[in-house]
Amino acid sequence: MLNCREVTHLCSQELERPLGLWERLSLKAHLMMCDGCSNFRGQMTTIREAMRTYREGRAVTSEQGSDRDPRC
């Protein structure tokens, strides 16, 4: 059984290489029971997406963008 610390590592690994069958199954089993790690995995996806958006020059800089703050 994987612990959260190991799962965070796997969440990063899956961005780098295809996970093996055992890794995928144990990741899935853990995420089903663990909100913290599910949220962590979502955050990793957001970071990857943000990096892609930024590198494509689609980040919203000073002149444009929404004033609405999604944190509110």
Binding site: N3, C4, S12, T53, E56, G57, V60, G65, S66, P70
Partner: protein, 207 residues
Amino acid sequence: MAATDGVSSGAAKPQGVSGEALMAIRSDMLRFAQLQLRDSHAAEDVVQEAIEAALGHAESFAGRSSLKTWVFAILRNKIIDHIRQRDRSIAVSSLMGEDEDFDQKLDQLFNEQGRWTAECRPARWPDPEDSMASRQFWGAFEACLDVMPEKIARVFMMREFLGLESGEICTQLGLTTTNLHVILHRARLRLRECLESGWIRSGGQAC
């Protein structure tokens, strides 16, 4: 004049490649290059090269993407060329050593069983689409990339900004795949932590 932005204008009107349009995005290009290269002279050089290349190949800009996206792709290639020529390997020991205090930090996130501690258990972030339409998010994001330790940032950005494959990064820097994965993982954890304090909690204490 601001360049059209891919986020807000899916159906951008056709726009030519003019020196004026390029000047309008030059500061964004410089920031991008500086984050990657950490060397303001080199950043100026690659941005200049990218602008010249864009003007020289203006006819190949089809207007399918926004001008900024097109120019950023050119800039990315110029940075990759620069990095390939630089060919400076990073000593593995210094890469791993740069981040020793981070290991202690990690120990605060998890208890002895490797489970999240109560105060550090990750919460859900705002919807990514909303975040990425927000200037505050990008302000925090750039600031967080900026404070990342230099060598780790270099590796992380080769992967995520330049989109280089693991194999090439390992060859360039003389790293093993395992080392590379550890470094990338630490970089993501750092970025996440920084966004937690700089964005989600706005200056509050993050784990």
